[in-house]
Symmetry: C2
Subunit: 361 residues, 2 copies
């Protein structure tokens, strides 16, 4: 792609379609719904492609993203607690015309959302967030999940819809995930059982991640999965064994802008393009893979420079040459761009707006 400015983020449309199809086929075969997390692409066009591929609805991290994504779906899960009044108010306003659900782990979030729902004259669906291992958010026990669920049923404007979990602690190779996923399933089964005994139904049990996507059937209590990265994949997926290089749909085209320092070339992709995210499993593997020079190591980033160690390269990248980088973590890279380039086979790259980036909350 010699005519694109660099650094540019390019997306291979054919690989995106293949990634969406593979996930849809798996989900259909196992009777699991997909509710993709749009944080990865933040694009209405790609969200519509996910819906067209059979997704039940969409997931977002921010209320502002929900507003943007409501152009693609009427059914949106905000997988983030609305503790503060501003978040809750915007979520409730959106719930007047869309099916909006929010995942919460506190009575305060329920109070805040209930007050906003009453004020807006809307009903907001609630999923109770339970911690199945990552220890980030989520109530800590099935009993606590029941207590919060019961609390939610008593708040006007709220509708208890089920349970949310995030197996974000599971980064093992796919063939070694069974034990960890069985532990997740045990927590969910106990929670659902407690709820049933109390007369509460978890209609939705929403979980999933990209690393565990194709093992989701090992959590039979789950009704839907929320993978995000699967649409593009990245070096976290490749080095984790969750995808191949060929499955990586989004890449950075970058130019060699300096070769002045011996043993090194400098690319025009720094932390304002690749982010400082290290590889999740191999933090010392460098800041992404240069596809044309796999022996090179992106050793050091500053804001607009990547210093690439070429000591192990049989042939060095040349000054002025463009190369292609697969980042460690694609989601925050997309978030740095106002627009990316959509590449259909045999066609000129087309600009694609990152609609839902830059939202505050």
């Amino acid at each position: 792609m010699p005519d694109l400015p660099t650094p540019s983020l390019v997306i291979d449309a054919a690989v995106v379609r293949r990634n969406l199809r593979r996930a849809a086929d798996y989900a259909a075969a196992h009777g699991i719904a997909i509710r993709p997390h749009t944080k990865t692409h933040k694009s209405v066009k790609l969200a519509r492609m996910q819906i067209d591929a059979g997704a039940r609805g969409l997931t977002v991290a921010k209320v502002g993203e929900a507003l943007a994504m409501s152009a693609a779906s009427d059914d949106i899960l905000i997988a983030y607690p609305t503790v503060d009044a501003l978040r809750a108010a915007e979520a409730a306003k959106l719930a007047k015309t869309k099916t909006i659900r929010v995942a919460i782990d506190s009575q305060l979030a329920a109070d805040s959302l209930s007050a906003a729902a009453k004020s807006a004259g809307a009903t907001v669906g609630v999923l109770v967030d339970i911690d199945v291992g990552p220890h980030r958010t989520g109530v800590q026990t099935p009993a606590a999940a029941l207590a919060l669920a019961q609390y939610v049923t008593r708040q006007p404007g709220l509708r208890l819809d089920g349970i949310l979990f995030y197996p974000g602690h599971i980064w093992k190779p796919v063939t070694e995930q069974a034990e960890a996923l069985a532990a997740v399933e045990a927590i969910l089964a106990e929670t659902i059982s407690l709820w049933r005994k109390a007369g509460l139904e978890a209609k939705i049990v929403s979980g999933g991640s990209t690393p565990t996507l194709f093992q989701s059937h090992l959590v039979p209590s789950g009704t839907e999965v929320r993978p995000g990265t699967y649409i593009f994949n990245d070096m976290n997926c490749v080095r984790g064994g969750f995808s191949t290089l060929e499955d990586c749909a989004a890449r950075i085209v970058s130019t060699v802008v300096s070769t002045a320092v011996p043993g090194q070339v400098v690319l025009d992709a720094g932390t304002k393009t690749l982010t400082s995210d290290r590889n999740a499993l191999f933090p010392d593997s460098g800041h992404g893979l240069i596809v044309e020079f796999p022996e090179a190591k992106i050793a050091k980033l500053s804001e607009e420079h990547a210093q690439v160690d070429i000591a192990a390269c049989p042939a060095a990248p040349k000054l002025g040459q463009t190369v292609t980088i697969i980042p460690n973590h694609i989601c925050p890279c997309v978030n740095l761009q106002d627009r990316v380039w959509w590449c259909e086979p045999g066609a000129e790259p087309q600009p694609l707006t990152v609609d839902a980036r830059g939202k505050v909350f």
Copy 2:
């Protein structure tokens, strides 16, 4: 600031003015010009404040930033090599109406810029980038700097204006920088002497960084300095001893959104707000400082969550409470925002557009 959405980046106008004044006073006392690097704020309003405080011109990393910043100054240095034709063409176009200089370290960059200048009918100033220690870009010896300078003088459309250096390898406490800066001065003095013997003048010798800003007089060959971060400061500056906490003008206001996991609170500021940049000198010190809870450690970030270890806190932040974070590295944090909040003493915060963010090249 209870009514701002969170996470928001707020800027204390009074602290900005004090930071600009301190640098201007220092520079005036030592007869050094300031050409601030606008990568830190990317705001035309703040660039104008820097010009009003006496800055000679502005520095940018991207040609797109130069275009945006040309609203604030007619004299812009692009501290980035224009090796590729697109960058060179845009720089040359801008040089038709503005004083544009570009720092280069290769004949290819000179060729590219010369071709673009000829095509645009413009003259572009060139600074020869010499490596004084960081080993990122820059020709490697004074002799190489002379050779490139002589090459530049032979290319139509280019005007040799001087030398660029970046002492980015110097992160020592201010009181321990003398030896390293003397080594920088030695390289520059040798280069300037070689140029003089060859009949070439280095009218501009542009250097500087925020860590070395107030020691710039120890590099007497320098004519101007290009600090960026000094306008805001951050935890890199504080932990490096280059500023105090009170000098940190830009902070993230964030809400505690979960306290479900014992020993931890979760803030709504993840890598899409704070970036993954670790502290330069104390990489294990966490992802910034929570001003109200200095004993807390921002231990782990995901895209929209900060997991804060509160084990050492005498009193824990409460669910729903807002706190204030000083990030490790403020420049890429500003770059994540479409707008930030400008806070004059006693006035309501006003939105401030980050004009030059999102530029490709």
